[in-house]
């Protein structure tokens, strides 16, 4: 898929103005997504990954505000669209599924009503009968057994995994150009998570969906994503393809994440290597690199100035002073060229 990327996010910053002060949840994030790509955004709680997604969806409500930046989707700047235009877009061209499938479904309506409502909202000329038929087809696509019968159920009659399937079916019913999945499997058991990830891989192949998958689990990322962004403290730390992030991580935070989890197949007599300290308070983010208070390689400049974006290859960037040519050489870390983070899309 060549040509224009489907989505371009340019230098967005989103804050929440609470009575305590301004919480700078997202601070200057830029990336892009090509058609048919599955982009993973990985980060811990408070890294800004969900707020980034909500900013794209235009779902930031008071006291939150997108302070700056551009969100170009299909060649149009979403920031310039009215609330009404965004309503048309949401669910039609961009759909989102959330972590908790129980609170995303209305408990007092049958699945049928909820799906038909969405389908007909975005296609008003469709008869109810045809909309029901389409809903049944969507349920079949996400492998709900006996969809004609099951569509009459209420959400509480379904298990967590089934509800998440219904959410995916509803989100895909308008054939959106972009699907944003925010921790879609976090609330599910591992065997059910495996079913849903399997389904997402299957859908990706069958309908060529462009997907942004947000998760805290590097394992989930490894299952489905071709490109990966690592976020921390409201900023992008590193971006690259699967090989870059899993086999050649070039940011001390990414390396720290890898070392914090036990490897699955090795006999794990080895001690884990935790990242010391705690994530930053985004009301008072560190002046320089957000990871500098916890990093093992912190230099003076890390505390004083935001790190530059450094390009390591066509696919790989890292935001870290350690990769600057004036920094000491550390084993495992390469040197690269500084690039303009706002002009150069992160990742491939």
């Amino acid at each position: 898929m060549s040509g224009e990327p489907l989505l371009e996010v340019k230098n967005i910053s989103t804050s929440f103005f609470s009575h305590l002060g301004e919480i700078q949840a997202v601070r200057g994030v830029s990336f892009y997504l090509n058609r048919g790509d599955v982009l993973g955004i990985v980060g811990e709680s408070g890294s800004g990954k969900s707020v980034t997604a909500l900013s794209i969806m235009g779902l930031i409500e008071k006291p939150g505000k997108i302070k700056q930046g551009e969100i170009i989707f299909n060649g149009e700047d979403l920031m310039k669209k009215s609330q009404r235009e965004m309503c048309e877009l949401r669910g039609n061209e961009i759909s989102m599924i959330f972590q908790d499938p129980m609170t995303s479904l209305n408990p007092v309506y049958r699945i049928e009503n909820q799906m038909v409502e969405v389908i007909r909202y975005h296609n008003r000329n469709l008869s109810r009968k045809k909309a029901v038929a389409q809903a049944v087809e969507m349920l079949r696509l996400v492998k709900i057994p006996e969809p004609e019968k099951q569509i009459k159920s209420y959400p509480h009659e379904f298990s967590g995994g089934m509800r998440q399937r219904v959410m995916i079916a509803t989100a895909l019913s308008s054939n959106p150009g972009l699907l944003i999945a925010d921790e879609p499997t976090t609330a599910l058991d591992v065997t059910i998570q495996a079913q849903i990830l399997d389904l997402m891989n299957d859908l990706r192949a069958r309908i060529n969906a462009s997907i942004i998958l947000i998760t805290h689990d590097l394992g989930v990322i490894a299952e489905v994503c071709s490109r990966i962004i690592v976020m921390y403290g409201g900023t992008i730390m590193e971006a690259g393809n699967e090989r870059d992030i899993f086999y050649n991580p070039q940011n001390p935070y990414t390396v720290g994440l890898h070392q914090s989890i036990p490897s699955n197949l090795a006999i794990s007599e080895k001690r884990l290597v935790p990242i010391r300290g705690t994530p930053p308070n985004l009301m008072y983010p560190p002046k320089g690199c957000p990871f500098s208070p916890r990093c093992s390689y912190t230099m003076r400049i890390c505390l004083e100035e935001a790190a530059p974006t450094i390009r390591l290859s066509d696919t790989h960037i890292s935001v870290c002073w350690l990769l600057h040519e004036n920094a000491p050489k550390i084993n495992g870390y390469s040197k690269g060229k500084i690039v303009d983070r706002y002009k150069t899309p992160s990742g491939s």
Partner: protein
Amino acid sequence: MKAVDDVSFHIDRGETFGLVGESGCGKSTMGRTIIRLYNVTGGEIFLDGTNLTAMSEKNLLPFRKRMQMIFQDPYASLNPRMTVTDIVGEGILVHNIFKDRERQERIFELLDYVGLKREHANRYPHEFSGGQRQRIGIARALAVEPELIICDEPISALDVSIQAQIVNMLEDFQDEMKLTYLFIAHDLSMVKHISDRIGVMYLGMFAEVAESYELYAHPQHPYTRALLSAIPIPDPDLTRKNKRTILRGDVPSPIDPPDGCRFATRCPLVSDLCTKATPELIDKGAGHFVACHNV
């Protein structure tokens, strides 16, 4: 509803026994039953040879000191109206171990152990992060110098970078204080990391019990195999090689469990016998127990 049904196992002194399974399998109920937060409806619990099953609350008190618990949710398990001193020191007071100044000194010492500061002692839980709260919960458990600690999903609510901090700390304390752990979790990779032996539960029963390495290297029960293959591996090359067994459907309701083997409704190896007779947990050699008709 039988949350845990006819389950027998033992934990050796100084050992970490891991209990894994999906939600609703009965692993938390098991932990809570052992320290008698729930009463047993059948069977017996022994601590160090003493039968705790029907003991009165009063007689149980000295045994409660020997068994402590760390809970999953560091937000819900600390009383928001109590200071850290009150939370950590409550057990010391109840069991009458130290008084006044000695008690305060002991609390400072405990905070030090778990990586908190003295000045944290007069603060309230809401002033701490999730990881710090879990440290307070651990200090509370250690305060009465227990021998057995039931860790009920102690790291599930924490961020990855903080999980490793807590796991390392629990391992260090086990070495220093000769603690015995029952470690309950659904994150199999972390359970394998910390446990000596592991029991895999499904719908209130054991499917398989074995030494940690043995269980991961040679899983025998079809449920264990499916569970292990379902773990997302943070290594794309291995992920591609991993032949995943996708289980059909969901876990049946424990109110009306299937006849025979409880896993029969989802099992890839299911045979006629499975729907008729409940398989016993049988020793397949070297302490590797499996409850399956077909292995």
